[in-house]
Assembly symmetry: C2
Homo-oligomer: 334 residues x 2
């Protein structure tokens, strides 16, 4: 284990007290320029590096760290979030401590504990489970928590989500306007809030359009591309197959495309996907897009704001979505 010179060593080398050295290295005022320089020189020549751990402790035990508990870092959506968060935190001199829950509520709990032991100043979470009792206690105790992507049921915390309803409505209308009536819906796990929002709005729009039994084309469970593929295949093989599919997340879109690829005439089926992805452009896939990096940025912004002002009113940020027509969503019904 590497051993570094302490402030005391620097102070002694510069011939000043510990406190004066501390002042210089923290850029505090009221130090004579000559002294300042002497301390700086000593610090540099000794290879001094301040110990942020000790500094945080002395300052009151709180670190300049913000924890981010995410579903799965390898998923492009979460990493976009992390990227936005990190960038914003940096502006405020804060650092990001990430941890993946693998969408496992139990693990989410233990990670929360670890981050709290690390005395993070705030926690940004994409809630995996429905039970946030542990978190609730912390919030009551004054911890800054921001949830992102999905609201945490029954908790009064700052939240950043996208306009799931609006996106689902726009996508459904888009397909209806292109003449489709039999529209399939391939969605995520039913317990996920985003699924519920998107599917509910889909059904509502369909009903408004005079297609009351749209529920028979509604499928859920597409948490992986493979699952989505099976669901879509089953949908297309039904007696009255849809002429269009609304895939409710990026996995679902990929799986649906795979299924369509394998079914004869599958390339005539219209597709709109929720969530943009890099190659959607190339593939000509019409999607409901939004800015995931911005989502992370806003979450971090809220975390910073609440830390500074704990009594500010709780905020709900809803980011807009928009339909990006690229061809697959504009195909007419067969």
């Amino acid at each position: 284990m590497i051993r570094r010179p302490t402030l005391a060593v620097v102070a002694e080398a510069a011939g000043v007290s510990l406190k004066t050295a501390s002042r210089v290295l923290n850029g505090e005022p009221n130090v004579a320029p000559a002294t300042r320089e002497r301390v700086r020189d000593a610090a540099v020549s000794l290879g001094f590096r301040r110990n942020a751990v000790a500094a945080d402790l002395a300052r009151g035990g709180f670190s300049r760290l913000v924890g981010f508990i995410t579903g799965d870092l390898a998923n492009e959506f979460y990493s976009a979030l992390a990227s936005g968060i990190e960038r914003e935190l940096r502006e405020h001199g804060l650092q990001l401590l990430t941890a993946s829950s693998d969408e496992d509520p139990e693990r989410e709990g233990s990670l929360t504990g670890e981050l709290l032991e690390r005395r993070v100043g705030a926690l940004i979470v994409t809630p995996a489970g429905a039970d946030h009792s542990a978190l609730r206690g912390e919030i009551a105790a004054g911890l800054t928590v921001v949830v992102v992507d999905r609201p945490a049921a029954g908790m009064d915390v700052d939240t950043v989500v996208i306009d799931n309803r609006g996106g689902a409505r726009a996508a459904t209308l888009h397909l209806l306007e292109h003449g489709h009536r039999r529209i399939g819906f391939v969605g995520d796990e039913p317990h996920l809030w985003t699924y519920q929002e998107r599917s509910a709005e889909f059904l509502a729009v369909m009903a408004e359009a005079g297609v009351p039994d749209a529920g028979r084309w509604l499928r859920s469970g597409a948490h992986s591309a493979a699952a989505a593929r099976d669901l879509a295949a089953e949908l297309l093989a039904s007696p009255e197959p849809p002429t269009a599919v609304l895939a409710a997340n990026n996995r679902a879109t990929v799986g649906t495309l795979q299924a369509l690829h394998e079914v004869p005439g599958g390339d005539e089926v219209a597709v709109v996907g929720f969530d943009d992805f890099e190659l959607a452009d190339l593939l000509g896939i019409t999607v409901v897009a939004y800015d995931a990096v911005e989502m992370g940025r806003r979450a971090a912004e809220l975390a910073v704001a609440r830390s500074a002002e704990p009594d500010r009113p709780v905020e709900l940020v809803v980011l807009p979505t928009r339909v990006l027509p690229r061809g697959s969503g504009e195909r007419p019904p067969r």
Copy 2:
């Protein structure tokens, strides 16, 4: 700022000394079962949470944190790395502190500084620049550093890379075997080590195959998909256009596909991409694949091993690559 009960409070509530409470909460031996229970109860009922910051300081100033400095968290390759690292660290009770350098050497330097101030036990880096003088000093001082994806020039540290040469060779041979002679190469920025390795091997294999002037189809600068697209378009518009393209990274592949999409007859050009990506399957793109998550895992493993045993010999881990034929690379020359 949330205020938590300290160990001293727990100890008092349980009627024991600070040290005994500490022993219980750290699972140390030699505490009477009854005492143990009393302390546990007190801790739970008070909502005690140990302060890892203070504990680390008391133990010698080192945190159980490992820093990871990456090019861009939003890039699917880096997030796969991060995911693998995180998983492995967790096994050892360590936490991941991530930071993005945006491939900026200067920022890499300042991030390194911040992480060191945080007293990370080890640093995992994908080196952005060529100058690692700052890092070199730290390594000399005993800091554990592992570099991943690209070696750090002139530094004797544990390294995890993939077999770039082997992958490039296999990809080039694959195209040659399918009858191509005029093979284009769309590569990343020339200063990147991965570019140099891949392009050099490409040229070597071409020369061995009796195509000595393959350099005229070699292009570099495809750091973004847009840049790659322009390069590929220019290549295809040349008087003697290639009948196949080897795209040397995932951005390059995407850009090349875009370019081919726009050129008449572009879909007859064979393509092999370096780096697998999710939709490559769906698009039928032949790629040189490898396991980025495993890469991260191995890097973390090395970091842990070296921290435990600083004098172990420096290791170079080279992960294998393999060609995944999916159609685009098997098209014959026109």
